[in-house]
């Protein structure tokens, strides 16, 4: 237990620096982008010089960059994410409204890609070089090569437009006033297509890693020993080969969480899912710097937390890992 605590403490200290770098980097990047929130706003309204000046003043854009960055960090130290320029609402509220949707999408897609990917990877890797192994390898590679938005559009055309089995988008039926179980079922139905589109991209990765790990494990001495001991093939596959091949997949799970957030930007747009990814895209388009900073900060915290969880899990699964770090 102390091992895990040491790990957590070390990571938290490191995380603060990571977050600071993320904030300053994002802020500077956004400032470097030409045009500010007022420029983005007047695209659809026009307006005279007086109105533009008024808006810049109202939104605090007449202050210097340094002042705004300092103000932002100062407010952040008081756990205040600030006010969104485009939504005229506290950023915390705007993000909290969207976060559950994105989390639901990510967790479901991860479960799908990890579960299906590792299961099929075991299936393929149990008999390396067999027909089913080759078929699954090629099939997953093909899927991995498909862009997410295209897969999404194809799923929409087939299952929503032609067959009409599933809704074309959204997170739930519009203004349906469903509650409880009916609402959960409604959301589940809406999630099928976006989760599939997001999950299938990463599914191939897990499948191939699992398969490769198993192919590697088959050659190890302990597998030979296990077989020599006369263990059943099933026991060898699951308890020795697959179990060892699973470790790198868990590392991947952590790394993938960041990628999933990126992938959700596209998938959320294609399927009209009101999540953080789409919000981020809107924030960039409207040059809403504080909102984008808030979203990136939330994502960074999320990714750090997931990776910490992965490390802890790893430390328990493989005693060698935590020992070296805790002892260092």
């Amino acid at each position: 237990m102390t091992r895990a605590l040491t790990l957590i403490r070390r990571r938290l200290v490191g995380s603060i620096f990571v977050l600071l770098i993320v904030i300053i980097g994002t802020f500077l990047l956004l400032e470097a982008a030409p045009g500010d929130a007022v420029d983005a706003y007047i695209v659809s309204t026009g307006g005279d010089a007086g109105m533009i000046e008024l808006l810049r003043h109202r939104w605090g854009l007449d202050q210097s960059e340094l002042t705004r960055l300092a103000n932002y960090i100062w407010a952040l130290l008081h756990l205040d994410l600030g006010q969104s320029v485009t939504f005229s609402r506290p950023i915390r509220d705007v993000i909290l409204e969207r976060l559950p949707t994105t989390l639901l999408l990510m967790v479901s897609a991860t479960a799908l890609s990890f579960g299906l990917g590792s299961a099929l990877g075991i299936y393929a890797g149990a008999k390396p070089g067999s027909l089913r192994d080759r078929f699954l390898s090629i099939g997953s590679l093909a899927l991995y090569a498909v862009p997410g938005f295209w897969l999404g559009l194809v799923l929409i055309v087939v299952f929503a437009v032609d067959l009409r089995w599933l809704p074309i988008g959204g997170i739930e039926s519009l203004a349906s006033e469903k509650t409880g179980f009916a609402r959960a079922a409604d959301i589940a139905v809406h999630l099928v297509l976006p989760v599939s589109a997001l999950g299938f991209i990463y599914f191939a990765l897990y499948l191939r890693m699992m398969r490769a790990g198993m192919a590697e494990a088959w050659r190890q001495d302990f597998v030979l020993a296990a077989r020599a001991r006369g263990l059943s093939r099933r026991r060898v596959v699951f308890a020795h080969v697959a179990r060892n091949a699973l470790l790198p997949l868990i590392t991947m799970l952590g790394l993938q969480s960041a990628q999933m957030l990126g992938g959700s930007v596209v998938i959320e747009s294609v399927f009209a899912v009101p999540g953080l990814g789409r919000l981020a895209q809107e924030a960039v388009a409207s040059r809403d710097t504080p909102l984008l900073l808030g979203i990136i900060l939330t994502s960074a915290v999320l990714v750090i937390a997931i990776n910490l969880a992965v490390d802890i899990a790893y430390a328990f699964l493989d005693p060698r890992v935590g020992a070296s770090e805790a002892g260092a």
Binding site: A40, A49, V94, I171
Partner: protein, 534 residues
């Protein structure tokens, strides 16, 4: 995303010309009561108050909730029909306009609508805060309210009644005084949940999902509205609206939410209809903006050469797939009041363009190039970007080497209108029914840096400035109209900018949606008579 991000186009050229003369669509049927209309929305305006933000993105939703004094009409007098005002009359001296208001109208919270609301909206909102009202109502000094149903606008300087009249459909959204008189108008919660007098009440907004409007049972229109609910489903992806129509999840996609390239296919889907009417009052103009600070472009011969190098018919046919009309000048052909065809024109003629450039002293170098320019196509529409690609090729033919610079919307606005970091730009200004609202500003000199959709190309023409100034204070409608015809001639002759084409939007709807496109601003009108059959 800007709220014009996807807004695209209108009818074939012939249709565009004929449209103002044609009466409303006549799939006349007895309207049915009830039902929920679900339609696509491509953007989510944060401020839904049309009295502050007079833009199509806001009107699309808010015009059903908050009403204007008058609405545009195909067959009404002066192209108008009454809404909250029953009549309007301008004094001969141009110093006052008298509105008689509708009796028995109630706000959605039950309070009565009176002339005090109109006075408050005009003086506290339109004049100081509204993007367009700040220009049109700049000389509004007071609004007298001798009784509850009379509002007399008093102007400090003579103001043409024709301009005020033409501005009514877009600029005169009336908001309730009793809601807005407390606190700062810009921060009022009603800006996000509007309270109006319209046929529909604001229901709810779920960010990223939908807006819901519900029937106003106390609406002043007899038997109206017909619909129980209107739901705007937020569909940010360009391909979603067409798919949602086909899957029967939505019944209407207005503002060209279905891209032009998909129209041919979607028009063959049983149960769907493609409608290019109902946007005559929202005409966009495809314009080549010119930076006159470049010495080559300051030469009128060079500008004429560029005009001759553009094949407008090809642009209409290829970029707009026929859903546009070629332009002759700064007023669109479908405008019933001001348009004149009697202006200098520039037929497609490469030889002439080359001759003009030679004459101007920019001979072709050995590599066939005369000079290079930076070309910035506005990113708001697919068509402005595609025309940018066309223009680059057209210019290459006459030896002008154009380098295309692509930006997103805010970056484009800053580059062109604040930094003037362009030689040529492609822009889509909007004609708003009167040249004084947002058209003369495109060529007038003396506009501060940073004002979007204005003359930021450093163009200065004293004769044109004098003409614009004179028209702005000419009260007689006929004389004023003549001055704007003169204005079109002068612009077409001197080419401060080059007008290429005019276009508007397309609606795609289920056959069951009735009373579509029955006024020139249909998508942004109140939809009191819209219904769902069957």
């Amino acid at each position: 995303m800007s709220d014009i991000s996807r807004r695209t186009l209108l009818s074939g050229s012939a249709l565009l010309l004929a449209s103002t003369a044609m009466p409303a669509f006549g799939w006349a049927q007895t309207p049915k009561k009830g039902g929920r209309l679900v339609l696509a929305a491509d953007s989510e305006p944060r401020n839904l108050n049309p009295a502050i933000v007079a833009s199509n993105g806001v009107f699309f939703i808010s015009s059903k909730i908050v009403e204007t004094l008058a609405e545009a009409s195909f067959d009404g007098k002066d192209g108008l029909e009454p809404r909250l005002a029953l009549s309007w009359e301008g004094a001969a001296d141009g110093l006052s306009v008298t509105f008689k208001l509708r009796d028995g109208v109630k706000w959605h919270d039950g309070k009565p609508f009176t002339s005090a609301d109109v006075a408050f909206s005009a003086l506290q909102v339109w004049k100081p805060l509204q993007n367009l009202g700040r220009i049109v109502f700049k000389d509004l000094a007071a609004v007298d309210t001798p009784d509850d149903f009379t509002a007399v606008f008093k102007f400090a300087k003579p103001t043409p009644f024709q301009l005020i009249r033409n501005a009514l459909p877009a600029l005169s959204s009336v908001v309730p005084k009793h809601i807005y008189e407390v606190g700062k108008i810009e921060d009022n919660p009603a800006n996000n949940a509007p309270i109006g007098t319209g046929p529909f009440k604001f229901g709810e907004y779920k960010a990223g999902q939908y807006y819901k409007l519900t029937r106003n049972a106390d609406y002043w229109g007899k038997d109206e509205p017909y619909l129980d609910e209107i739901i705007y489903q937020v569909l940010p992806d360009r391909t979603s609206a067409a798919a949602a129509l086909e899957a029967e999840e939505i019944q209407l996609a207005a503002f060209s939410a279905v891209p032009l390239a998909d129209l041919d296919r979607i028009s063959k889907v049983p149960g769907l209809k493609v409608i290019s009417k109902g946007y005559e009052g929202l005409t966009y103009q495809l314009v080549v903006e010119i930076n006159h600070r470049r010495k080559e472009l300051a030469d009128v011969k060079v500008r004429q050469a560029i005009a001759h190098a553009i094949d407008k018919d090809f642009v209409v046919k290829t970029v707009f797939l026929g859903y546009a009309a070629t332009a002759t000048g700064p007023v669109p052909k479908n405008d019933p009041q001001f348009y004149t065809a009697d202006v200098p024109t520039y037929p497609f003629d490469v030889a002439k363009a080359n001759a003009l450039l030679d004459e101007a002293g920019y001979a072709k170098a050995d590599d066939g190039k005369r000079f290079a320019v930076k070309l910035l196509p506005a990113p708001y529409f697919n068509e402005t970007k595609q025309f940018g690609d066309y223009l680059r090729q057209a210019l290459a033919v006459i030896g002008i080497d154009a380098e295309i610079v692509n930006n997103d919307a805010p970056a484009h606005i800053k580059a062109v209108y604040t930094d003037h970091a362009f030689d040529l730009a492609v822009g889509p200004p909007v004609f708003r029914g009167d040249p004084a609202i947002s058209t003369t500003i495109l060529v007038q000199s003396g506009i501060p840096d940073g004002v979007p959709f204005s003359n930021q190309g450093g163009y200065k023409n004293d004769a044109l400035d004098a003409l614009i100034a004179k028209a702005s204070e000419t009260l007689d409608t006929a004389a004023r109209t003549d001055l704007y015809k003169e204005f079109q001639k002068e612009v077409a002759a001197d080419l401060p900018l080059i007008n290429v084409a005019e276009w508007s939007f397309i609606s795609v709807a289920r056959d069951t949606v009735g009373n579509i496109a029955n006024n020139p601003r249909w998508a942004v009108s109140n939809w009191a008579d819209t219904y769902l059959a069957g």
